[in-house]
């Protein structure tokens, strides 16, 4: 069996249980013959993002074409009885060339039910290991600094940090505040057969919905979260002392919330409590399990011509401290520029500088300069649309319709 299927099976076995393997009409819903034929068609969201880049390292002269992060996502959403909604999302992407995940990796396979105040999610989806999406070309461009790193990973696949199988419950306190609790199964590269829950987390979020962006509040988003990786720390008894805790804090500020010349700044800090006994980095596990403090910030400019973004540019900087490991630090800076060529299509250029110093060089390459010329195609549409998103203006300003 190939490795991509492996990832899919994890979700099936670990979370959705045996049910999906049974014939369709024997699980869940019995259609009842001809009376079941008049089913209401669901909403059908389709999302595509193709990120292709020509990568060039000016020092070594190495270059290659990269299409990782290219993603296809489809879904189905339906109104349920009693004011609930149900949906299923299926997504896949091409992982990094050298990734250990086969040709296709299933990034999203989850079902979700939600009502006005609650969402309950089950399956594989984006891991709760960061609070902000920074405007880098690819989500994993600054992964060492803007993600809480998965201590069960061997460092080969960035997907180990980005996606997890999980049960998530989020309660929306009001339109802008939410609190979420999740139990996760992060991909465990140390023990590939381990699909059990290996992390627990809690997340608090204040977020101004996109549809209210011209309300011109300075504060767009503030988030706090704690993520407990249930590691088996040698020589410690209780689960609390055995686990690695990561604390994340984030904010997003409007610098100039002008609909034509828009500026914002976002930042995130991650404090990884680590294990105090790890004062050297010889393996990737040491790297994720020693005490670190990571900062990441990005300034973004959007020029919107005639109500659509024509030009987006951003620059960011990150720094990671290693308090227990001598002479070790990581730094990263990037600048990028995207120009909209037409509907759904952008051309972009990104320059990235990395500095890895000290003991991290034992496990990470020192990848100093990288220039990427990228073409990005993205498409997002809901076919057969029958109801609004939670954060539409009508829902927010004129009360939620069930």
């Amino acid at each position: 069996m190939n490795k991509a299927m492996n990832g899919f099976q994890r979700v099936v076995f670990a979370l959705a249980g045996m049910m999906l393997l049974l014939p369709f009409d024997s699980i869940g819903q019995y259609n009842g013959g001809m009376l079941g034929e008049d089913e209401l068609q669901p909403d059908f969201p389709v999302g595509v993002k193709a990120v292709t880049s020509f990568n060039f390292d000016p020092l070594t002269g190495k270059n290659y074409v990269d299409f990782s992060d290219t993603e296809l996502m489809i879904g189905m959403r339906q109104k349920l009885y009693n004011a609930w909604r149900g949906q299923f999302i299926f997504g896949m992407q091409f992982p990094d060339v050298n990734a250990d995940l086969g040709k296709i990796f299933y990034t999203q396979v989850f079902t979700q039910v939600e009502n006005e105040r609650n969402t309950f999610k089950l399956g594989r989806t984006n891991a709760p290991s960061k609070l902000i999406d920074f405007p880098t070309l690819r989500d994993d461009d600054a992964i060492d600094l803007n993600y809480s790193l998965n201590p069960f990973s061997n460092g080969i696949n960035t997907e180990d940090n980005q996606y997890a199988n999980m049960i998530d419950f989020t309660h929306i306190i009001n339109q802008r505040y939410s609190i979420g609790f999740h139990a996760d199964n992060y991909i465990d590269e140390i023990d590939r057969q381990n699909f059990s829950v290996n992390a627990l987390g809690l997340e608090l979020m204040y977020k101004v919905p996109d549809s209210e962006i011209w309300n011109r509040n300075v504060l767009q988003q503030v988030g706090l979260s704690v993520l407990n990786y249930l590691t088996r720390r040698e020589g410690y008894g209780s689960w609390a002392s055995q686990s690695i805790r990561n604390y994340l804090g984030s904010f997003m500020l409007n610098i100039n919330p002008d609909p034509v010349y828009f500026w914002d700044f976002s930042g995130q800090v991650i404090y990884n409590e680590g294990f105090k006994e790890i004062d050297n980095i010889t393996t990737y596990q040491d790297y994720t399990r020693t005490e670190t403090f990571a900062l990441f910030g990005a300034l973004r400019f959007v020029y919107r011509k005639l109500e659509k973004p024509l030009l987006i540019s951003s620059g960011g900087f990150g720094y990671k401290f290693f308090s227990k490991v001598d002479d070790t630090k990581q730094m990263m800076a990037y600048y990028n520029f995207f120009y909209r060529l037409g509907n759904n299509f952008d051309v972009g250029l990104q320059y990235k500088y990395n500095l890895n110093q000290g003991k991290v060089l034992n496990v990470l390459e020192d990848d100093k300069h990288r220039i990427q010329l990228a073409l990005v195609f993205s498409f997002d549409k809901i076919f057969n649309s029958q109801f609004d998103d939670r954060y539409s203006i009508l829902n927010l300003e004129h009360k939620y319709i069930k």
Binding site: G33, M34, L35, D38, S211, W214, N215, R216, D258, P259, V260, L306, E307, K308, G342, N343, S385, Q386, F387, D388, S392, I393, L394, E397, H398, K399, I401
Partner: protein, 410 residues
């Protein structure tokens, strides 16, 4: 087919049924009267009749259990009826309570051109929190309507329409067909998904535009409005992309109506036409929507008496009348065949609610003086089996053995 399965499937196909006994009650008839447009009150200023119209975003329910956000004149759908006499001086204060733009067009009226309500052709749109005063003399007589002329693909079907009746003291129709009662039936078609999506887009867009307007940075390219064809073409040459080239103003799909209404309501909430034996009623039919209706009355040949408000010199009789978008037609129904008769669109796709039949613009002509014994299905139905069942003392379906209100097999 197994009998139980057949019964349940035929019930499924026929949808909702309401017992006809209910519609003869006093309470029902009172309730039914509320389903016709309410007349807007006016005050006199000298010899001007002054009316006030507002527009808000509100929630509307065409049939019980189905709600959607829409745009309403004075929180009514359709908007309130303006009814004046021929030659009256009319002044309408129109206040916009939404953050969208609107205008009012007086459809079929001969107003001065600056009162015609077409944005950028003869007036600027009525912007958020602004008031526009429309002034004109009421002419010509007859059945007309008013509607929003801004973003009409959305605003008009969203609910910004209402009847406008100009009465003639010497109405030739009334002389020829003396009637005591008249009904105004405003037909429309609504794609509630389109309305929802487009309204969200417009609200979002208007927030941005309002911001720029306040800063004096709003220009003709953002309005998609130019002083001349030449200006427009110059803008295109300089890189401006008209909205029909880049879809930045509306959803890519045109509306596909899924709700069809009479006076804002769909079956079984649509208004009924009540008549008495020997009576004549006048029905003013208005199509304020964007689809055609082919209205067919059972058991009668009504008189077509007016077209676009204009009395026809030579009324003719028919049982089906096309009611095209933007048209008004007046008909006279003579109460000469008592019973309960369907009056519906013969394009039966429009007698659906959200695609489910029956619904939409299905309604009935009801003889309110129909003797109770005539509603008895057993005595008059010709159904031999039912008669036998009644004789043998079996309990018949539908309390008292009366028919459900609508024949569902047309």
């Amino acid at each position: 087919m197994d009998r139980r399965k057949f019964l349940s499937s035929s019930l499924l196909a026929s949808g909702l049924m309401i017992n006809p006994n209910e519609i003869f009650s006093e309470a029902y008839r009172k309730e039914n009267l509320k389903k016709f447009p309410r007349q807007l009150e006016y005050n006199m200023d000298g010899d001007w009749k002054e009316f006030h119209l507002t527009v808000d975003i509100d929630v509307h329910e065409p049939a019980y259990g189905m709600k959607y956000h829409t745009l309403l004149f004075n929180n009514q759908l359709p908007g309130p009826e303006i009814r004046v006499n021929k030659g009256d001086k009319v002044r309408v204060y129109f206040h916009n309570n939404t953050i969208l733009n609107h205008t009012i067009h007086w459809h079929g009226l001969h107003t001065p051109w600056r009162m015609d309500g077409v944005p950028f052709v003869n007036q600027f749109p009525v912007m958020p929190n602004n008031t526009f005063v429309y002034e004109f003399v009421a002419e010509p007589t007859g059945t007309h309507f008013y509607h929003c002329h801004w973003g009409t693909v959305m605003h008009m079907q969203a609910g910004m329409y209402g009847s406008f009746i100009i009465e003639d003291p010497d109405d030739p129709i009334k002389k020829r067909f003396p009637y005591d009662r008249e009904y105004v039936m405003v037909y429309s078609a609504h794609d509630v998904n389109f309305i929802r999506e487009e309204m969200n887009r417009m609200l979002y867009r208007m927030k941005e535009r309002s911001y720029l307007m306040k800063n004096g940075r709003y220009n003709s390219e953002r309005w998609d409005t130019f002083d001349s064809i030449e200006d427009f073409e110059n803008a295109v040459n300089k890189g401006y992309k008209p909205p029909y080239l880049v879809n930045r103003r509306a959803p890519a799909d045109l509306p596909q109506p899924n709700w069809f209404t009479i006076n804002g309501k769909s079956y079984p909430y649509a208004p009924e036409l009540f008549i008495k034996e020997g009576e004549k009623i006048r029905v003013r039919l208005i199509n304020a929507g964007n689809v055609a209706y082919y209205l067919h009355l059972h058991g009668h040949d009504f008189w077509q008496v007016a077209d676009d408000g204009r009395p026809l010199p030579d009324p003719n009789q028919a049982n089906t009348i096309p009611l095209m978008p933007g048209k008004t037609n007046d008909i006279i129904i003579e109460g000469n065949n008592r019973g309960i008769w369907t009056f519906h669109d013969h394009d039966t796709r429009k007698v659906t609610n959200n695609g489910v039949y029956p619904g939409g613009t299905l309604t009935t002509l009801v003889y309110e003086d129909l003797p109770p014994e005539e509603r008895d299905v057993v005595k008059y139905s010709g159904n031999i089996n039912l008669k036998k069942m009644a004789e043998q003392g079996h309990k018949l379906p539908f309390d008292g053995g009366t028919l459900p209100k609508y024949p569902l097999d047309e």
